[in-house]
């Protein structure tokens, strides 16, 4: 019997983090696909697992009962500590600090800006075409007030010029700093592949396509080399094969061409 069940969307952003960590560790898991664009994450069956209504979430059945885990980065840390397999945290304490620092930088400073841009150019337009009444009811079911606002803005195309400008500023600055970091070390925060690479890869693999003016072979050679190195990992290939939309397939083509 599989002890671990992962509730996830595409192998992307937050969902991709625990998927990839489980794959790297070689932990078998039952996959429960949550279609974000159908608002599966706000349905009662899922809210029973994660009342916040965000993905991913993971359950782990053990001798002491079923453990429920949320928050993608914290889930990865759990996966790394709870299961055998390659250690995805460096051994040196200062390297570990650096890995955590980069994950927080992505999760709480840069990631929300990627999300705002992604939601305004991709998620909003995908969902917008549906019946307005159905959409209004779907938004009313969202448990987190901040997310209700974000979905409404995405659907109505209402992100303000100043918040979009701030997001673009952060994305440009974040990419520039990541490029510098990867000029110092082979991986993010340390000399070995770690949770920070998984975290940041999941939010940056699309950059050559989504931000070609900021991330390219010429402008960010270190990021490109690193993306390719991570992309070539077997665990990434197997994780991307779990995607149900053409997202991963499209990006595979980009990866094949980047270095």
């Amino acid at each position: 019997m599989t002890e671990v069940t992962l509730y996830h969307w595409e192998p992307n952003a937050n969902s991709g983090k625990p998927m990839l960590a489980l794959m790297e560790k070689g932990v078998p898991f039952a996959s429960h696909y949550i279609d974000m664009l159908q608002f599966d994450q706000h349905k009662p069956e899922y809210l029973a697992i994660n009342p916040q209504g965000t993905i991913p979430a993971m359950t782990h059945q053990g001798p002491l009962g079923t453990r429920v885990l949320t928050e993608s980065t914290a889930i990865m840390e759990y996966v790394n500590a709870a299961f055998p397999g390659p250690d995805l945290m460096p051994a040196d304490a200062q390297d570990r600090w650096r890995v955590r620092w980069w994950m927080k930088f992505m999760d709480q400073w840069l990631g929300p800006s990627f999300s705002m841009i992604g939601w305004s150019v991709f998620v909003g337009p995908m969902v917008r075409k549906r019946d307005p009444e159905e959409l209004a009811a779907a938004i009313d079911r969202i448990p987190l007030p901040e997310r209700r606002i974000a979905w409404r803005k995405a659907i109505n195309g209402d992100f303000s010029a100043s918040e979009m400008a701030e997001s673009r500023r952060r994305v440009a600055l974040g990419i520039a700093r990541l490029e510098e970091e990867l000029g110092k070390r082979d991986y993010v925060g340390s000399a070995s592949y770690s949770l920070a690479d998984i975290n940041i890869f999941n939010s940056t693999y699309s950059l050559p396509l989504s931000q070609p003016d900021l991330a390219s072979k010429d402008k960010t050679p270190n990021i490109m080399r690193w993306l390719k190195r991570v992309y070539e990992r077997d665990a990434v290939k197997r994780t991307w094969a779990m995607g149900k939309t053409d997202l991963a397939a499209r990006y595979s083509l980009v990866m094949e061409g980047i270095v």
Binding site: E71, E77, Q94, R96, F105, Q108, P145, E180
Partner: protein
């Protein structure tokens, strides 16, 4: 290679890190700096400044080792614990550890911006507004992060809107209520065993007692827990490093209010 911990008055992020250092027993020299004079942005000998320049926590402590600036109070506390070979500040069980990280993230993401805003309005805004124009211009020019600089400027210009204040009151109330819920089973410390969660929560919540007393009216367990944390030797020795009579009333611009949810 010598390490130095630069810190502000023992409150908020500085209190967490000073107490964690005391708990670890590590021998790292501490240097108090005047956060409200912008001293954190004028440290010398830093070859790797990114964590200082783009830290999320705002005016928190900075540990400098081998020319690298290290920031973020929870991670510095973890660092001390791990460097000391495990001083008991982090649960060993992976699920208990996950629980602690989740708790700390709630506190740093939701409570700390709220507490910093209210704390600054109560005790540092006047001082910031009174900095002579040239000095303030020099201070803000030394802040690398545009969003941290904007928080300094907003305090200086008294450009804080009422909705932010109301939201911050609500977040402090929620944090106290969350502590009360956690302590309801009679446990001594938030995670059962004493941990970084106690230090981080104390660091941001203790100073809210005089500023937002309403949050504590229906939270007797939380008040008793605050008193227990205050009596822990590591917290006592961190507070003893204060250079003012009431360190819990000492604040400097903190983290931003979450912009996505």
């Amino acid at each position: 290679m010598g390490a130095v911990l630069y810190h502000g008055e023992p409150n908020g992020a500085s209190l967490t890190v000073l107490a964690a250092l005391a708990e670890s027993g590590l021998d790292i020299p501490c240097v108090r700096i005047d956060l409200l004079a912008g001293a954190r942005h004028n440290l010398t000998g830093i070859a790797e400044p990114i964590a200082l320049d783009l830290g999320i926590e705002g005016e928190g402590p900075v540990l400098v080792i081998g020319g690298e600036a290290m920031t973020e109070s929870v991670f510095l506390a973890q660092y001390f614990d791990e460097l000391a070979g495990g001083c008991g500040l982090q649960p060993a069980d992976p699920y208990a550890h996950w629980d602690m990280l989740m708790w700390c993230r709630q506190i740093t993401e939701r409570l700390s911006p709220a507490a910093a805003l209210l704390g600054n309005l109560a005790s540092s805004q006047q001082g910031i507004a009174a900095i002579p124009a040239d000095d303030f211009a020099a201070l803000t020019a030394s802040v690398v992060s545009d969003d941290l600089r904007a928080r300094w400027q907003a305090l200086h210009d008294d450009a804080i809107d009422a909705a932010q204040v109301a939201d911050s009151h609500a977040k402090v109330d929620q944090a106290a209520a969350r502590c009360e819920g956690k302590l309801a089973d009679g446990r001594e410390w938030l995670m059962g065993e004493f941990s970084i969660a106690d230090l981080v929560t104390y660091g941001w919540l203790a100073g809210m007692e005089p500023i937002r007393p309403q949050a504590f009216v229906a939270a007797p367990l939380t008040c008793a827990w605050l008193a227990r944390v205050a009596a822990r030797p590591c917290v006592v020795s961190a507070l003893a490093l204060a250079n003012c009579a009431e360190p819990l009333r000492s604040w400097a611009p903190g983290p931003e209010i979450n912009r996505w949810g």
